[in-house]
């Protein structure tokens, strides 16, 4: 019998808090990136790599990817448990999404490392 309905966190309550905490980080990062594009007249390669050369931008970006990993993981679980009734199919889609999120997190880590 399933006693705890949670996916990423230790409990449903933990998931609830994680979704909201990561949402705040993602909001700030989205505002930062949109703000950068709006405020920069011409985004050249030098400007672009110069931005990501900053340590705090690297940290902020990786923090945002960590947030989206958790937020997307829990979010897709909430959607899947409502609409995909067949357990095997639900588990398969969850696996694909979770692995994709982890792969993107790792890719960004190594790419940022080299900028």
């Amino acid at each position: 019998m399933v006693r705890v309905a949670s996916t990423f966190g230790r409990s449903g309550t933990h998931d609830y808090v994680l979704v909201r905490a990561t949402a705040i980080i993602l909001t700030l990062y989205a505002l930062f990136m949109v703000g950068f594009f709006v405020a920069t007249p011409e985004v050249t390669y030098q400007v672009w790599t110069g931005l990501f050369a900053n340590l705090w931008v690297k940290v902020f970006t990786l923090l945002a990817y960590t947030a989206v990993l958790i937020h997307g993981w829990i979010g897709i679980w909430q959607v899947l448990t409502d609409y995909v009734k067949k357990s095997s199919r639900r588990a398969f889609v969850q696996l694909v999404v979770s692995v994709a999120l982890i792969v993107m997190w790792l890719t960004i880590l190594f790419v940022l490392w080299g900028v």
């Binding site: 989205a30 985004v43 959607v79 890719t107």
Partner: protein, 133 residues
């Protein structure tokens, strides 16, 4: 015995409405489903965004390639779609945070805040379109 009795009464009292065209989703229900749809859209969008970020940081040549792609109508349309989904998802999320604190939970305020979130999202979507083109 009692359970059986309860089941029969529920069955008898259950209203039947098969005129599906008369059933309308209230604004908060539409706000909720849009929040989910935009969330799933952005999970897919994340693959495109990550690809663009990774490619643009590889070399100047690759950056220029991504940059020239962004001048095409299709890429701009995809970017506009992503910004629209982001704008709505963000506004609906902020509405959720306010509801977590116990506001906008009544029928009138719930309906109004759902409508306001959707109208503001349309405004943001238009602004994003003007900015991109």
């Amino acid at each position: 015995m009692l359970l059986y009795k309860r089941q029969t009464t529920v069955k008898k009292q259950r209203p039947v409405n098969l005129a599906l065209s008369t059933i309308q989703f209230p604004a908060p229900a539409i706000a909720s489903i849009l929040h989910r749809i935009t969330g799933v859209i952005m999970l897919v969008a994340l693959v495109f965004l990550t690809w663009a970020l990774v490619t643009s940081l590889q070399s100047e040549q690759q950056f220029n390639w991504v940059s020239s792609l962004m001048d095409t109508f299709l890429a701009k349309f995809i970017a506009w779609g992503i910004l629209t989904a982001l704008g709505y998802h963000l506004l609906a999320g902020l509405r959720h945070l306010v509801m977590d604190m116990g506001h906008w939970e009544e029928l009138q305020s719930g309906k109004l805040s759902a409508k306001v979130a959707m109208v503001l999202a349309i405004v943001l979507s238009v602004l994003a379109g003007v900015w991109l083109w």
